[in-house]
Assembly symmetry: none
Homo-oligomer: 90 residues x 4
DNA sequence: ACCTCGCTGTCAATGC
DNA sequence: GCATTGACAGCGAGGT
């Protein structure tokens, strides 16, 4: 049963703090939404310029993957180097 | 470096087992696809009978939500109350 | 303003028909859900048999792609080439 | 057959334009990522202050839903009424 | 360490 | 036809 009554009460101070937290999150989510809209816009413009959107997305995706793989590799190298498993380029 | 050569080999038995697993998954995905097609079909028939498809989908969606939403409500109420959500949104 | 009152009324016959349509859709969606659960189950079993689930999913995905794909790849190559991401065949 | 050779070539001008488009998208995605990280951070801080993160997320989600849902309700009510999901205003 | 859940990004379908 | 919206699969974080 849920009668809608909260199980606990919050002090006014706590409520105020909570409000701030939620407000901050919502503000940031709004920002994120705007940036997402801008990205969409760029794809839209590209499309109306004759670009193949799907391929364009694929390019961006692949480049991201490559970046990640390289990143992982370099951390890995750092570790291996630290462990003396590989030699630095002399 | 990845020369494309597998790091390990599978016995014939293991290969056979793998084949079976993949086959089973693919068979189930096929089934799922068929059911999805049937659903689409029903909406199609409904539409050609004059139903407002969008509204129909909304009904189904809402009924599903209603079935779900019946959890965590208590703690939630505390927060919502604190945020003044019990009052109309300004 | 939405006072919750429907804009139009439906005859009893129409209501009955509507009920049937919704029921049929919900039944099919239930089926679909079950099949999805079975797929998940297969992956689960595979995992507990020592399979690398992520790799397994990749296999299934690639096989599906192979079945479909053999398009757009050339546009993609064009883009990647333009960006210097891949090398032309010399 | 896909031998990896692009079907078409791009002029230098076109290549430059493509580069710009991709660069712009990547820059915006970077921004989005940063904002997402900030959001995550806020949740993290909230948690270390003793908030129930799950509930907090639920609050944010519900408030978003509330802001949205205020559409199509009229036709919808007709259908829901027919299905006995809601009662007519007596 | 595993598992669940939520989020994100992609793809297809529908309406304008 | 394009734009919007919804569905789905994949990934990652967080909790147990």
């Amino acid at each position: 049963m849920d009668d809608g009554a909260p199980a606990v009460s919050l002090s006014e101070t706590a409520r105020e703090k909570l409000r701030q937290v939620v407000a901050k999150i919502e503000r940031l989510e709004e920002e994120k939404k705007e940036v997402a809209a801008q990205i969409k816009e760029v794809y839209g413009e590209a499309k109306s310029m004759g670009y193949d959107t799907k391929a364009l997305r694929a390019v961006v995706r692949l480049r991201k993957q490559d970046r990640q793989e390289r990143e992982e590799q370099s951390i890995l190298d750092t570790y291996l180097l630290a462990l003396g498993e590989i030699e630095p380029l002399t």
